[in-house]
Amino acid sequence: MNAIEVANVTKIYRRYARKKQFATLKSALLKGSLIQDLQPDETFPALQGVSFSVPAGTTYGIIGRNGSGKSTALKLVAGITKPTTGTVKVEGRISALIELGAGFHPEISGRENVFINGIMLGLTKREVAKRFDEIVEFAELKDFIDAPVKTYSSGMYMRLGFAVAIHVDPDVLLVDEVLAVGDEGFTHKCLDKFGEFKRRGKTILLVTHSLGLVERFCDEALWLDHGKVRGEGDPKRVIDAYLTDVERSEERELAATEKRVLAEPGRAEAERAEGRGQRAESGGQRAEGGGQRAEGGGQRAEDGERERGAVEGRWGSREVEITEVTLTSNDGQATHIFQSGERMSVHLKVRAHAVTDDFVFGIGLYNAEGVTCYGTNTHLEELQPEEIREEGEVTFTIDSLDLVEGTYKLDVAVHKRDGYPYDYHRLLYTFRVKSRTQDVGIYRPHHTWTFSPTIKLRRQ
């Protein structure tokens, strides 16, 4: 038997222009043609032909990006809004954890609010009284239950709302991203409560961005994208498909950002004019050792660093120019997304407008907080420049990109040995590192765990 059945549902939100509304009121008053005049100017389909069914006793997850229609779907199931076309059927008592504590009155005590909220959610006064102690205990608010709700912290408020909603004892529980409310301990308690619901054969519909939760808890998952079903079935499979799609669109986004930044010549020129004295040694905020070794660049480079801060931009005399920067992965494909440990190559196309023997190529990697993850240049690595002429290509390859998951920015530069910039691209390139492991820090050194035979672990 299905506890929830959503069949071919379309939900269209309407938007009315303000001006029109006034005209509508006028004509409604004058001609009494209210219903006809309530025609929207603009419509927005939140869901289009969505169907899914949730068998009784299962836990069902809905995932998708912001604005994909997840919450709308949940509201339709809850009966808060009605579908424009299609049908929604739900068997049994519903409790919706959509906004916790909606309907609490700030001026009156927690105790009174529990009663009123319980009644709002469909209990009788006697039923609330019977569960009252349990609710208060669950919310951990024993000492504050007689204080007005306006004095509660937001965590207390949410906990009380959650406690009431969950004690309604529904057959179908609808949850919209509410587990982010409490501290670690409370979240565990909520998860335990969900587990208990599951064991008792209740149906749970979960809308969340926490994919781990869906993978762990749900029997089935649905992936919504722009109001349409993109995938349904085994959570692991659906989540993988979803993540692949997210990656793809991230890639598109990064590529677009890069194009936009590079297409801003005005800004780059301004930076250049401003950066007259900016002679920076490439390789980023140099480690002390590096700084001392760099001859000549020393003090001036540090000034320039301070002046520029972390602002992205491009400057330099362009006697030697970096015309194109591409990042490629293992397979040689241009990309902005790398798996941790993968090979990454940075390709620079360069053009020298005059032949010179004074040039240094440099690279710097920064994480999102602006910390230098690594910086180096050909000078620091004691590569003596002899000649550069016309067009060429420089490739910088990291065999194993051992960075933790995150977004990173890239500096590339070509300059004189004393720091005089030919072409400096500061933080213009972004790439993302993905990792299956949720380890922390910046750098992931190659490592192994070894255990004596008395210690046993098993790979999950």
Binding site: R14, A78, I116, M120
Partner: protein, 271 residues
């Protein structure tokens, strides 16, 4: 619509506790607390009495009885009526969280605001009774049995208007502002600060259209009924008008509920 209307008694418990909450929350934090329910009508009465006995003392036939008592008979029900309408015109927007995030029978909200104001009205009645005794008003049991009927008719009329206004304001926010002014006009078009006999007397300077307007005003008949029952001596002669108004109010209530029900699905999106 009727299926939903039949559901209404099921929300009894909810309506009860929400009305109780309104009353409790209203004066929470004020020093006098619940006594404001008594003081508010009393102060209102003092203001009007001051205006009409000190500032504008003329134009009152002393044979009719004490002017303060007359004012009170009309002011008290009017306060219930106007505050109910002003509150309910905004109530769906104020209670937006409930409508958007919880399965909540929206009609409960305007009903609660009308009923909460009814309770304030009933508290005000206690003050009125004290005045009636003090002025030795000519009360008769045969008239007083009509009193609950008048209250019931006013309740139906107010509920009907409250449902219409609350539902319409969701779509047309301008109603809130228009309403405040309409109510001021409505107040003066109702025989509350002047007796209806002044208007209907052939010697009054009131133009005919204004007379028609005042006589068509439903609240005129409520006010006159209250005044006849509590203030004027003599039998309650206005009962035919009252019953007709009662019937019209019932129709208005049904129409209000119908309109509310039709617009119900749009609330969650428009609030």
């Amino acid at each position: 619509m009727f299926a939903n209307l039949r559901q209404l008694p099921r929300y009894r418990g909810l309506i009860q506790s929400l009305v109780a909450r309104e009353l409790k929350a209203r004066y929470r934090g004020s020093v006098l607390g619940f006594f404001w329910s008594f003081f508010n009508p009393l102060l209102l009465l003092l203001v009007y009495t001051f205006v009409f006995t000190v500032v504008l003392p003329g134009g009152w036939d002393e044979k009719l009885g004490p002017r303060a008592l007359f004012l009170f008979c009309g002011l008290l029900p009017w306060t219930w009526f106007s505050s109910s309408l002003i509150e309910s015109s905004n109530i769906l927007i104020a209670g937006g969280n409930l409508i958007k995030k919880v399965m909540f029978p929206a009609e409960v909200l305007p009903i609660v605001s009308v009923l909460a104001n009814l309770v304030h009205f009933l508290f005000g009645l206690i003050i009125l009774v004290v005045f009636l005794v003090y002025y030795k008003a000519p009360l008769q049991v045969s008239e007083l049995v009509w009193f609950p009927v008048v209250v019931l008719v006013q309740l139906l009329l107010t509920l009907g208007l409250a449902l219409i206004l609350s539902a319409m304001t969701v779509h047309f926010r301008d109603i809130k502002d228009i309403l405040a002014n309409v109510l001021t006009l409505w107040f003066f078009a109702t025989p509350i600060i002047y007796p209806i006999s002044d208007i209907n007397a052939p010697t009054s300077g009131t133009p005919a259209w204004a007379k028609t307007l005042i006589n068509l005003n439903p609240f005129t008949h409520l006010a006159v009924s209250y005044q006849e029952i509590l203030f004027y001596s003599g039998p309650f002669g206005h009962w035919k008008w009252l019953l007709a108004l009662g019937f019209a109010s019932l129709l208005l209530f049904l129409f209000g509920y119908f309109l509310f029900d039709r617009l119900r699905d749009s609330f969650a999106e428009e609030v």
